[in-house]
């Protein structure tokens, strides 16, 4: 009773299988130029997978930023410290409102003779002549 239906179903299946094998055969019969273009297309698509430049992890990036910020803060702190400390380093105002007496410099500090010696071109020439300088010292020693 089911024979016509079964035979129809079998015929349909055979037809589908035949179609499938025809399509498969047509796909296998592609010419060389087409296959070459397919190969190039595939390689071009796969080239997108080329390892990209590795980005640092977010944690590492934040750590780097933190380090830079800390470095900047340290530089600023060290640079501004003398100005900040200036107030502490100034002598405290004298009690009783006595202003310190302004003393006019009457004599040069200790290093001044050397400075004069260096500033004087003749003395500078003497310095270059070390033997003469040593003789002069020896003569002064004899006189003393």
């Amino acid at each position: 009773m089911n024979e016509p239906r079964d035979s129809s179903s079998t015929a349909a299946q055979a037809w589908v299988l035949r179609s499938r094998s025809l399509l498969e055969a047509s796909a296998q019969r592609l010419d060389g130029a087409t296959l070459s273009r397919l190969n190039r297309a595939r390689q071009a698509a796969l080239a997108q997978l080329a390892p990209a430049r590795r980005e640092p992890s977010p944690l590492l990036r934040w750590f780097g930023l933190g380090a830079v910020a800390a470095g900047l803060a340290l530089v600023l702190w060290r640079g501004l410290l003398p100005i900040g400390d200036l107030g502490e380093r100034l002598p405290a105002p004298l009690a009783g409102g006595d202003a310190p007496a302004v003393v006019a410099p009457t004599e040069l500090p200790v290093a001044a003779p050397d400075f004069e010696l260096l500033a004087d071109p003749e003395s500078y020439a003497l310095l270059e002549d070390l033997e003469f300088y040593a003789w002069l010292q020896a003569e002064e020693g004899k006189d003393g």
Binding site: L23, T34, A41, A45, P51
Partner: protein, 198 residues
């Protein structure tokens, strides 16, 4: 579903990023090599021209690798056909718009266009498919497939040739399973009526 040669990267592969990248590339290469010929034929049946078909397949490969290469390999066939189906739909839409413009601009521009008669199956050609020699049978089948609407053709090719089940075909075509069954039924009816007519 058709048994693909592709396999996921072996579990024993070192977890090194470069090695895993290389393994992924090899697996994708195998998959695309396996599917590319059928993809080309499917595209060609829809757009007619081999150059257009090659371009569409290349676009599909690009889109697939860019968007889905990170997905599990078991899902690749479905995703690849999804991308290609989307490209084919876009292509068909563009062609429809273009032919509308050409029709509006006048017959002079139509001279360069494909002769619509070339897309109509030859009524003298069809005969019982089983009785035809392979080349003739393929020509008849190809002409009949080209004469089908895109959705019917895609449903037939994905279900019958690619071996996707109804659910997978529905996912690949972004349709409901019911729609796929309807398209498939109509495609089979038209193809058999055309190719097996006495």
């Amino acid at each position: 579903m058709r048994t693909h040669i592709l396999l996921s990267p072996p579990a024993e592969m070192p977890l090194d990023a470069d090695a895993s990248q290389s393994s992924l590339r090899q697996a994708l290469d195998r998959f695309l090599r396996d599917v590319e010929r059928r993809a080309l034929r499917v595209a060609q049946l829809s757009c007619g021209s081999r150059d257009d078909a090659l371009e569409l397949v290349q676009e599909a490969m690009f889109g697939f690798v860019r968007g889905y290469s990170g997905k599990p390999a078991e899902q690749w066939p479905l995703l690849f056909w999804r991308v290609l189906d989307s490209r084919l739909t876009d292509f068909q839409r563009r062609r429809r718009v273009r032919s509308r413009w050409l029709a509006w601009l006048g017959p002079r521009q139509e001279e360069d266009d494909e002769d619509p008669m070339s897309r109509v199956p030859d009524p003298a050609e069809p005969g019982p498919l089983a009785r035809l020699a392979d080349d003739e049978a393929m020509r008849a089948l190809e002409a009949a497939l080209r004469a089908l609407p895109l959705r019917q053709r895609q449903a037939f090719l994905l279900r019958v040739w690619e071996g996707l089940d109804v659910a997978q075909t529905a996912a690949a075509m972004a349709l409901s399973e019911g729609s796929v069954k309807t398209h498939l039924f109509r495609a089979l009816q038209r193809l058999r009526a055309q190719l097996e007519a006495p």
